[in-house]
């Protein structure tokens, strides 16, 4: 079947088996290996991507279900300021140990920050509830997200865009 969708900002068209899962199309057909398979049952969140701006677990979605939709993986969010700040904060605060859940964690965190609400620890914990991390006990992840949120709250987006890389 023919799947037409927007992937990381580019219009894509691909002929796939109708049973193929989104995660496999992203990894195998487009080489987007930030998307990790952890549980096959939509429970661990390692495969989280954005579909039309919302976090979705790509291991439990047929690729055909994103027909005409917009899909963004971690690779496609490379230039997003919020994501840059999140990544820096994860690195600084050791928001990862083995790094396997990290892509999904970053996507869920990005969605939280993009919603632009004030983020206390409880809200952060709710936002990443669908992403399991077996290494950190979530402490350093919550800290990473909070620090990124604090930076964003202190700085307007325009300012961030101007400063760009230095932040």
């Amino acid at each position: 079947m023919e799947l037409k969708f927007t992937l990381n900002g580019e219009k894509r068209q691909i002929d796939i088996e109708p049973r193929k899962l989104l995660i496999d199309v992203l990894r195998d057909d487009f080489g987007l290996t930030s998307v990790h398979s952890g549980c096959d049952t939509a429970m661990c969140g390692a495969c989280t991507v954005l579909v039309d701006g919302k976090p979705v677990k790509s291991c439990n979605l047929l690729a055909m279900q994103v027909q005409d939709s917009e899909v963004q993986t971690l690779e496609g969010l490379f230039n997003e300021h919020r994501m840059k700040i999140l990544k820096k904060s994860f690195l600084k605060n050791h928001g990862l140990q083995c790094g396997f859940c990290t892509s999904g964690m970053l996507i869920s965190s990005f969605y939280l920050l993009k919603k632009g609400r004030e983020s206390d620890d409880d809200e952060i914990r709710e936002a990443i509830e669908g992403n399991i991390c077996r290494c950190t006990g979530y402490v350093s992840i919550v800290k990473s997200i909070r620090e990124a949120a604090d930076i964003l709250n202190k700085t307007s987006l325009e300012e961030l865009e101007m400063k760009g890389e230095e932040r």
Partner: protein, 674 residues
């Protein structure tokens, strides 16, 4: 390895990211029964085509496994656990391989499985050539009679727990007609290499094992599995690279869980709480085959059962029993958490019986001088540490909250040493260790040590993952050992490099080093045992439904010398949540028919971000070891110390006696209802 910058950019190289030209995919057909005769199998690859034994490897596998308990790489006439591989198929894609599984034909004749380890001790053997289901049996210490005013006796139980790293097992194997190269997610390329050699009777010089980014392990990935041998053999048959990635459902039924231990413990004490003697049975549910850890675990728990306490008389019967379940493996702590849980629970029961403060009972049994237990466990002077721990954890401040407290000793698996290779090339210092990271940030450990020793900046140190083609001899990363023996190996390699440069050039400077093209390799031996003492304090709140909220966990752990304090702290935080999980929810459940009842990672009880919102307070104690960097171990401390402290707090707050984990909330409401 890929850097942490790579990982936050989604550019890690995990095993499922490894792709070779013409690579094919292996899928396994697994037993649907816990015990059955296999009358007929039709598949691409069966036990008739691929023969071999899964060799024991990794932590706990020092001794060779006895013949009747060795696991065949594909089941032959009998299957002995749900999930046991019976046949393998190959496809050009993952989808094709899985489709082919539906074409596999297996005829079974179901047999009555043995699921309960205690019952299995005296039952007919589950394996055809075995005389009994006893995989290993030992008596530790010496039998005794003692005149004791109080005898406290309990049966305690920790069920099997899945390791559940977010990345499952996986490998790519390629045989080019002469050499076998394996890329794998692992804790030790050396245990894997040796096991390949033994399982497939291959010359070790023709095997190269390369570790790729490893997405967590927790004990799972130090061992060798039947699937690994099958994947390599299929590559040898076909000449094509073969990949296998475990699904989570395969992980649940067929990987090796840890824990699964029963302790029937008897404490003989005087009226003041001094323990005069310790007797007990340790029964380990080893599963259908021995993996090394299966036979090792029971005696290992018995050996360290008395923990930091000076108990003069001990007599412990340790038995590992075969049951119709997946073989046992190590899970973070591997025997240490079981021992500490049993002993700490017993100390609390003794305190309750005598109506003495549990802290006083513990202090009464700690010595201010060194002690060797009747089982051979060497303990440093323990009492001063724990007196200090109570102050550091501010026990008095928490007293009104009815806190639970635990004392323990972590004896890291440091013995045997570790290997290290350093290659200086193009101005960069590349470092390989025998045991490499699966999440512990060994990169920071290595760069700090190399920078201290050689005077180069940390940025020019490149931490590499293990590769048996680079470093020839190594051990592996488990048992809280890498900071200790891995760190020491890095120091020895740096010093050797420096000495050689001084000999060749008559002097040393960092810039002389980085101008060179040079390599050194060392194996830094280490014999002897270390003590990392630790203490925990926990407070909880329980609602009317019996749901437990863990409020505070305070950790006071001796790490020797913290090489990187934030990494130490983060290891403790991560392990603390695993410890809470063990108490509140983690369990691999089996039915009476041996079917696995746990169906997903959520069902297995792994904690999510919202399951614990309490506070973890980490206080690091530094009593350096005699090694040049003073390090001890910390990776397993929280999974040892946190569970008994939390259980104790729950018992104190609820008034309900707790012997087993995970705790059923209903059991905590019973008291009010009755």
């Amino acid at each position: 390895m890929s850097t942490f910058e790579d990982k936050v950019n989604g550019r890690g190289l995990f095993i499922d990211d490894v792709r070779l030209p013409d690579m094919q995919y292996v899928a396994f057909f697994r037993s649907e029964y816990a015990r059955a005769r296999v009358k007929h199998v039709k598949a691409d690859f069966t036990s008739r085509d691929l023969q071999g034994i899964a060799a024991a490897a990794g932590e706990g596998s020092e001794s060779d496994v006895r013949t009747p308990f060795r696991e065949p790489i594909l089941a032959g006439d009998v299957v002995s656990y749900v999930g046991q591989p019976i046949a393998a198929v190959v496809g050009r894609t993952k989808y094709e391989a899985e489709d082919k599984l539906s074409e596999v034909e297996v005829d079974y004749e179901p047999l009555e499985p043995l699921v309960d380890p205690e019952g299995a001790i005296n039952s007919e053997p589950i394996l055809p050539d075995a005389e009994s289901n006893i995989i290993a049996e030992n008596y530790l210490g010496k039998d005794f009679n003692v005149d004791a005013s109080v005898v406290v006796e309990e049966r305690l139980y920790i069920p099997r727990i899945l390791t559940n790293p977010i990345e499952t097992r996986g490998l790519v194997a390629h045989y080019d007609g002469n050499n076998l190269t394996v890329w794998i997610s692992t804790q030790s390329v050396y245990s894997i290499k040796e096991a390949f050699s033994r399982s497939l009777s291959l010359d070790p010089d023709k095997i190269r094992v390369i570790q790729v980014d490893t997405g967590g392990a927790f004990g799972l990935k130090g061992g060798f599995y039947p699937e690994y041998a099958v994947v390599a053999l299929i590559s040898m048959r076909t000449g094509k690279p073969m990949k296998w990635i475990e699904s989570r459902s395969e992980h649940i039924v067929a990987s090796r869980p840890g824990r699964g231990a029963i302790g029937k413990i008897k404490l003989y004490a005087d009226t003041r709480g001094k323990v005069l003697g310790l007797k007990g049975d340790i029964i380990v549910d080893a599963g259908a085959y021995d993996t090394g850890m299966g036979s090792f675990a029971a005696s290992y728990i018995a050996y360290q059962l008395s923990g930091p306490y000076a108990i003069d008389r001990q007599y412990i019967h340790a038995v590992s029993v075969a049951t119709n379940k997946a073989p046992l493996g190590p899970y973070r702590g591997a025997g240490r958490p079981e021992a500490a849980y049993f002993m700490e629970r017993m100390m609390d029961q003794l305190a309750k019986r005598l109506a003495i403060d549990p802290i006083d009972v513990r202090l009464r049994n700690l010595s201010s001088s060194s002690f060797v237990s009747p089982t051979g466990l060497k303990i440093d002077p323990a009492r001063p540490f724990f007196e200090r721990a109570l102050r550091e954890m501010e026990y008095e401040r928490y007293r009104g909250m009815k806190p639970g407290v635990s004392f323990f000793v972590l004896v890291p698996a440091a013995s045997g040493g570790e290997g290290c290779k350093i290659t200086v090339r193009d101005g960069l210092v590349h470092v390989w260790l025998g045991g490499s990271t699966h999440g512990q940030r060994h990169d920071l450990l290595v760069s700090k040590i190399v920078s201290n020793e050689l005077g180069v900046d940390r940025g020019s140190v490149v931490y590499e993952l293990s590769d048996s083609g680079e470093l020839s001899k190594g051990i592996g990363a488990w048992g809280s050992r890498t900071a200790i023996v891995g760190g020491n190996a890095v120091i020895q390699a740096c010093r050797k490099l420096k000495d050689e440069i001084v000999k060749e050039k008559g002097g040393y400077s960092p810039s002389m080093l980085t101008d060179l093209d040079k390599s050194v390799e060392v194996f830094a031996d280490f014999r002897g045992s270390l003590n990392s003492f630790g203490a925990n304090l926990a407070t909880v709140q329980i609602n009317e439904l019996g749901q437990v909220d863990v409020l505070d966990v305070v950790c006071y752990y001796d790490v020797g010398r913290a090489i990187n304090e934030s990494v130490v702290r983060e290891q403790i935080e991560g392990g603390t949540i695993q410890g809470i999980g063990q108490v509140l929810s983690e369990k691999l459940a089996y039915g009476k028919d041996g079917q696995v009842l746990t169906s997903s990672i959520s069902d297995a009880g792994v904690l999510r971000s919202t399951d614990f919102r309490g506070r973890i307070t980490v206080k690091i104690a530094e009593f350096p070891s005699d090694l040049p960097h003073g390090a001890k171990g910390v990776g397993e401390s929280p999974t040892i110390g946190v569970p008994p402290a939390i259980v104790s707090a729950i018992e104190n707050v609820s008034g309900v006696k707790i012997l087993n984990t995970p705790i059923d909330p209903l059991s905590l409401t019973r008291r009010e209802n009755e």
